[in-house]
Symmetry: C2
Subunit: 135 residues, 2 copies
DNA sequence: TTGCGTGCAAAGGTTTTGCATGGCA
DNA sequence: TGCCATGCAAAACCTTTGCACGCAA
């Protein structure tokens, strides 16, 4: 199911190389073009859908009519930890932390709610953006 | 700043009355129409923007090209607790819990990250939807 | 009376789809 | 060869904006 193609490799490769950032479909087209690789926007959208379906990437809906951003998450290992996303720079932090694991247990026991770690993102501001603000 | 109008009251009223659910702009138009109150979609969007700005409502971006959903949060008090949103029924649970308050402290101390409780939503599945699935 | 609110129609922007062509296996 | 992938153009959608008219204060 699914062929390996030049475009697919380039899209996944770019996402992987910029895993700390988040990119819109448009930005992916532009960056690939800058690298000399022309890829149609339609193809970018189709590969992003596929990568999200495979759990290799993640989609972040934009505010209002902004474009959605996509970010590489790398697959299986990302299902076992938490994600902190910075509202300042967009960076996604991957946090392995037993304390946070216990949060899920607490929520289940005390609030009857099964936390979906894959769908949950904790929003806030990272250290870098915090110190930057103070300038 | 801002007049009180019939439409505004109806929109806020509907949102308040359905605080457990989440509605799209379209659904708001439809439900008001069913109640005999015709309100233009443009007006609905403008009031939703205002209510979100006032912290009275919250916007949840849809997947892909789905419409965004709006949900009544009631204002100031919602900034001091956590929100659990059910992926099954869309219900938003408001959780006041000292255990969860400590999560923010932990994240700051151990991960250098200032959690924004207002922007963060924990996704998962509520008790009702869990037992429903088992049928 | 003044200025904001309303709602229609139209525009704007993102994402999806149709279809002919190209490429992987 | 068979089937999927590609990419252009066009469509589909949600949301915003322009503008003339209506209503709140």
């Amino acid at each position: 199911m699914g062929y390996n193609t030049k475009q697919g490799e380039q899209i996944e490769g770019l996402l992987k190389a910029t895993a700390g950032e988040h990119l819109t479909a448009d930005e992916i087209v532009r960056r690939l073009a800058e690298g000399g690789n022309t890829v149609g926007k339609t193809t970018v959208y189709r590969w992003l859908d596929r990568l999200v379906g495979q759990g290799k990437a993640r989609r972040f809906a934009g505010e209002k009519s902004e474009s959605a951003c996509y970010q590489y998450t790398g697959g299986a290992e990302c299902r076992n930890h938490y994600h902190l996303k910075c509202l300042g720079c967009g960076r996604l932090l991957h946090v392995n932390c037993e304390y946070l694991d216990r949060v899920a247990e607490h929520i289940l026991e005390h609030h009857g709610f099964v936390l979906n770690e894959e769908k949950t993102v904790l929003y806030g501001v990272c250290v870098e953006c915090r110190t930057k603000k103070e300038d």
